[in-house]
């Protein structure tokens, strides 16, 4: 069984530059979405999906989480899950209440 260092060190640099190109393509796509005539809500959802995809690629490939022990992966994913709840669910409640309040004003 290969060690973490062997797994990371044996792949060379090519994979990292391929991922760099993928990240740039996602970034350019996100800029087009930001410039598109879509209304703010679907735009925000698409951009958050794009940002989450980029973040996942960085975490698993650049930060080498995919080579780590399963317990460590679970701890980090739990943290990301809680962060995700804070980022997506909490503002959704507040945002809905604020928008409803505005509609009835």
């Amino acid at each position: 069984m290969s060690t973490h260092a062997e797994s990371v060190g044996s792949h060379g640099y090519k994979g990292y530059w391929l991922l760099w190109i993928v990240l740039l393509v996602i970034t350019v796509t996100m800029i087009f979405i930001g410039d598109s005539p879509l209304s703010k809500a679907p735009q925000a959802i698409l951009l958050l999906l794009g940002a989450s995809l980029k973040a996942s690629l960085i975490i698993f490939f650049y930060m080498h989480l995919r080579f780590e022990n399963r317990n460590l992966i679970l701890v980090v994913l739990l943290g990301i899950f809680l962060t995700g709840i804070l980022m997506f669910v909490v503002p959704a409640f507040d945002g809905t209440q604020i928008l409803e309040h505005r509609l009835y004003q």
């Binding site: 973490h4 990371v8 060190g9 951009l47 460590l72 943290g79 503002p91």
Partner: protein, 202 residues
């Protein structure tokens, strides 16, 4: 027992770490998760303030979006060079470690220089923490706090990488040290991904 194996053993019980990593790396991951919560809190606060504001300035009016895109490009590129530096450290290629870590530092300093220019331009246009020419005080407050916090993280990252680069040039680096510095640097890039999407693009 090798240094790495010793580092993966609990000093209290002498048993293997359930996470299979040295405590320094485990602490770095835990720090990253908690720091992610801090930035999530800032971005959520910004989101609520923005939804609560009847109007919000168009980003393209306040910022030069091509310039912000260049900043993003610089940070993503520095993340790629850092990943190469970590791979070189794992493979024991000292020359490449030094090269890639210095390239990453260059990327970080370029980003900070661009951010300093962006801030000075924004301030020159009349933006302050509590007021700005676009009529929504929360807009500049969110900008200064979120990008300021991120900039402080980049500054810390560059400082850590400078230490790694100098130690590497002296032949004193450890692969684990380079990897931990790399984890922090990728986190800084990761935060910018969300700042760019939520603050500049939405």
């Amino acid at each position: 027992m090798s240094n790495t194996a010793a580092a993966m053993t609990s000093p209290l019980t002498g048993t293997a770490s359930p996470f299979g990593v040295a405590w320094q790396k485990l602490m770095m991951w835990i720090f990253i998760v908690t720091d992610a919560l801090l930035f999530a809190g800032l971005l959520v606060g910004y989101g609520v303030v923005r939804v609560a504001s009847p109007t919000w300035p168009e980003q393209s009016v306040a910022f030069n979006m091509n310039y912000i895109t260049l900043m993003t490009f610089t940070l993503i590129t520095s993340s790629a060079t850092m990943a190469c530096g970590v791979a070189a450290a794992m493979a024991g290629n000292k020359k490449h470690v030094t090269l890639f870590v210095w390239l990453t530092i260059l990327g970080g300093l370029s980003f900070l220089g661009m951010q300093a220019y962006e801030w000075s331009h924004f301030i020159h246009e009349g933006a302050r923490l509590t007021s700005n020419p676009w009529g929504v005080p929360q807009f500049s407050a969110a900008f200064f706090i979120i990008t300021g916090f991120h900039g402080m993280h980049v500054t810390t990252g560059v400082t850590i990488l400078l230490v790694v680069a100098i130690r590497s040039a002296m032949g004193k680096y450890s692969a684990q040290g380079v990897e931990n510095a790399g984890l922090y640097w990728h986190f800084v890039d990761l935060v910018w991904v969300f700042v760019f999407a939520l603050f500049y693009l939405v």
